[in-house]
């Protein structure tokens, strides 16, 4: 079984950050593998361990993202491709989708998977955009994957409940991070990752040089989330505070 997993390097959302003049400033250069992609890699590894096959990871990103590619290899992926971007282009979801679709246009595979969204933008669009560009059947927000007879059975978290969907090969699936706990690369994995093949290609090589006029959505700036003011704290006898607040919810807030 041949699985491609698209991964992205994103800033660590748990690192301290500040906003200055509408710009986002990270305190330290802390970048990590997008958590949703990590789940996608993990699941692909589990499936190929069960059914045999290969996991290849593809990352579109700047030079410094190479360490994230190595991490996926250290987790157990067999090969990697780094599509090197400048880092200062303002690519949006559709730009990434186009770049990756170009990469996949001449490849053979059973499934392409990726995280359902990336932690920097939380847009959640690139996966299904890629499926459309590649004309692949797809499912999103997978919380479980099973494979048999060339078909991926996807358990998808939908609005009405959990949808069990069969996706034939070749197909695409986007993964929720509720799916699994991605493995931490073992020492052996780290050591082996150095020897695993990584193809480095440029956007030019791919013929996917996207100019900034083609990028239809733009980020204009960043701002702090409006602080929600803390209300009142009630400490004291449980009986009393319970009754007091219940009354206030009725008389003051009218929400009962």
């Amino acid at each position: 079984m041949k699985f491609y997993v698209c991964i992205k390097q994103v800033p660590d959302v748990y690192a301290p950050l500040q906003i200055k003049d509408g710009q986002l400033i990270q305190d330290a250069d802390r970048n990590v593998l997008n958590a949703y992609d990590a789940s996608a890699v993990e699941e692909a590894l589990v499936l190929t361990e069960q059914h045999g096959g290969e996991v290849e990871v593809v990352l579109a990103g700047p030079e410094k993202a190479k360490e994230t590619l190595r991490k996926a290899l250290a987790m157990g992926a067999h090969k990697g491709t780094h599509i090197v971007t400048n880092g200062d282009e303002e690519f949006d979801s559709s730009a990434y989708a186009k770049i990756l679709a170009k990469f996949f246009s001449d490849k053979e595979y059973d499934f392409i998977s990726c995280g359902k969204q990336s932690q920097d933008t939380d847009a959640g669009l690139a996966g299904s955009m890629m499926a459309e560009l590649l004309d692949l059947p797809y499912a999103t927000n997978a919380v479980d994957l099973k494979f048999s007879d060339g078909t991926l059975t996807v358990k998808r978290q939908g609005d009405a409940g959990q949808e069990i969907i069969d996706v034939p090969s070749p197909g695409l699936v986007t993964c929720s991070n509720d799916m699994n706990d991605p493995r931490i690369p073992s020492l052996k994995g780290i050591m082996q990752s150095k020897r695993k093949p990584v193809d480095t290609i440029s956007l030019d090589d791919l013929g996917a040089d996207i100019s900034s006029d083609e990028v239809k959505t733009k980020v204009l700036g960043f701002e702090e989330k409006p602080e929600r003011e803390a209300g009142k704290k009630y400490e004291g006898e449980p009986d009393e505070i319970a009754r007091e607040v219940a009354q206030l919810l009725d008389t003051e807030e009218n929400v009962i």
Binding site: R30, S186, L187, K188, M191, K194
Partner: protein, 441 residues
């Protein structure tokens, strides 16, 4: 994998990174293991990296645009405090403006990560580019020994073998205790807890407030009321756009006086002299770390055995002798020396006891042990209750009188001084301290 390394280094703090860099430059095959998510994620320092060893590891490091250090120190201040006053000895000199600098102030998560990047680069340029590794997120659980010799390490179920192991695991030196070089339980008596906050300012505000120019910076150490009667001292260092402010406090004394580090830190920040320095800043981080005081009584006597050496804080190489807190520079030098000993051992094909002893010999010969040995008395002096309490009070009291101009006849300084002495101590105390001080300092 049946590979054997020349060396496995446990811990990618300053000592481990210094050892790794040296081994990489010497074309050795090694494994640097770090339990944190990335080198620096689990490290805390005040902190200033004193001395010029950084230039040895990363020549001309100051020329790099975004290097991992924040500012060089050209302005030093030592402050004695009582409840309301502060009396400082303040020294600033353009003499300190030339690189390589006397000391650079660093933030560990940034600095260690940067230095680790340099190590990776050195590995890539070495003969063992494909066979030496920096491995984060891995916990070494055991040092493996065979026939009285160290042969490798174990993490989880996996064992990895090497001709030598460098333990640079930090102050919680469990592996050092496991191999018998330190007692299983180290008494709190000579250990300190360091607590600090990082306070953020607009960079221009910071530079104005502390009179900084370009990348110059200031270090300020505090004695006396800073620690609210608990043995220890305070510090404040200027980073690029933040200030590191904190305390080191005697663990035993803290316990006996029933105070918490956080309360004392808040108290310290409220002191008029300190409050004026940090006004308007935003606290962005809080961290704490146990450190040794530099008292030799906690240090393991032997820092080696066949196939193994111990560096950095795992060997309790840290000293607070009042003038400065020196930990990172000791760690760096010990890491370099351990790596050099191992390089020589490889040349001779002998990693036995005497080859490893060479490490401790060079360490004893270096400024690290020479200073630690020489200044033991200073360390003890610093922890003498007189220094925490009476002396700063005495000095501040004197200062208050000396610097007041009243519409009354003015006493002579020596009379003011003797008044202060009588009020806070006694001449006999002074003589005793004076004798200790003369000997120690």
């Amino acid at each position: 994998m049946d590979e054997k390394f020349d060396c496995i280094i446990v811990g990618a703090g300053v000592a481990g990174l210094a050892a790794a860099m040296t081994l990489a430059k010497n074309n050795m095959k090694f494994l640097l293991i770090e339990k944190g998510e990335f080198p620096g994620s689990k490290n805390v320092s005040g902190g200033v990296l004193w001395g010029s060893d950084l230039n040895k590891l990363v020549p001309n490091y100051w020329e790099e645009e975004d290097a991992g250090w924040d500012r060089f120190i050209n302005h030093r201040r030592l402050t004695f405090m009582d409840e309301q006053s502060s009396f400082s000895v303040d020294f600033k000199s353009s003499h300190f403006n030339e690189a390589p600098y006397n000391g650079v102030v660093v933030l560990r998560s940034k600095f260690d990560k940067w230095l680790a990047g340099k190590v990776e680069k050195a590995i890539a340029e070495s003969d063992y580019a494909m066979d030496s590794f920096v491995a984060p997120n891995i916990l070494v659980e055991e040092v493996l020994e065979e026939d009285g010799k160290v042969v490798g390490i174990r993490t989880g179920e996996d064992k990895f073998y090497a001709d030598s192991v460098i333990l640079a695991e930090g102050v919680n030196n469990l592996l050092t205790r496991q191999v018998g070089l330190q007692d299983k339980y180290v008494p709190a008596d000579h250990m300190l807890t360091g607590v600090k906050e990082i306070i953020r300012f607009d960079q221009d505000v910071l530079e104005n407030r502390f009179q900084l120019n370009g990348r110059s910076g200031m270090s300020n150490e505090f004695v006396g009321h800073a620690t609210n009667g608990v043995e220890g001292g305070g510090f404040l260092y200027t980073n690029k756009d933040t200030v590191s402010i904190g305390l080191v406090l005697g663990l035993k004394d803290l316990r006996e006086k029933e105070q918490t580090p956080y309360d004392i830190l808040n108290h310290f920040k409220k002191h008029p002299a300190v409050a004026d320095m940090i006004r308007g800043g935003e606290v962005v981080e809080y961290s704490a770390h146990v450190v040794s005081s530099g008292d030799k009584r906690v240090m393991p006597e032997k820092l080696y055995k066949a196939g193994l050496t111990v560096c950095g804080e795992a060997a309790n190489l840290l000293m607070n002798a009042g003038k400065a807190i020196q930990g990172m520079d000791y760690a760096m030098r010990s890491g370099i020396l351990a790596a050099e000993a191992i390089t020589k051992a490889k040349e001779k094909g002998d990693f036995g006891e005497s080859a490893m002893k060479a490490y401790q010999d060079t360490l004893e010969d270096s400024y690290v042990m020479k200073d630690i040995n020489n200044f033991q008395d200073a360390v003890h002096l610093l922890h003498d209750p007189f220094m925490v309490d009476k002396m700063p009070n005495l000095i501040c009291d004197f200062g208050r009188n000396f610097f007041s101009i009243k519409n009354e006849p003015t006493k002579k300084a020596r009379n003011m001084f003797s008044d202060s002495v009588k009020k806070h101590a006694s001449y006999w105390d002074l003589v005793k301290i004076g004798a200790k001080g003369a000997k120690a300092l």
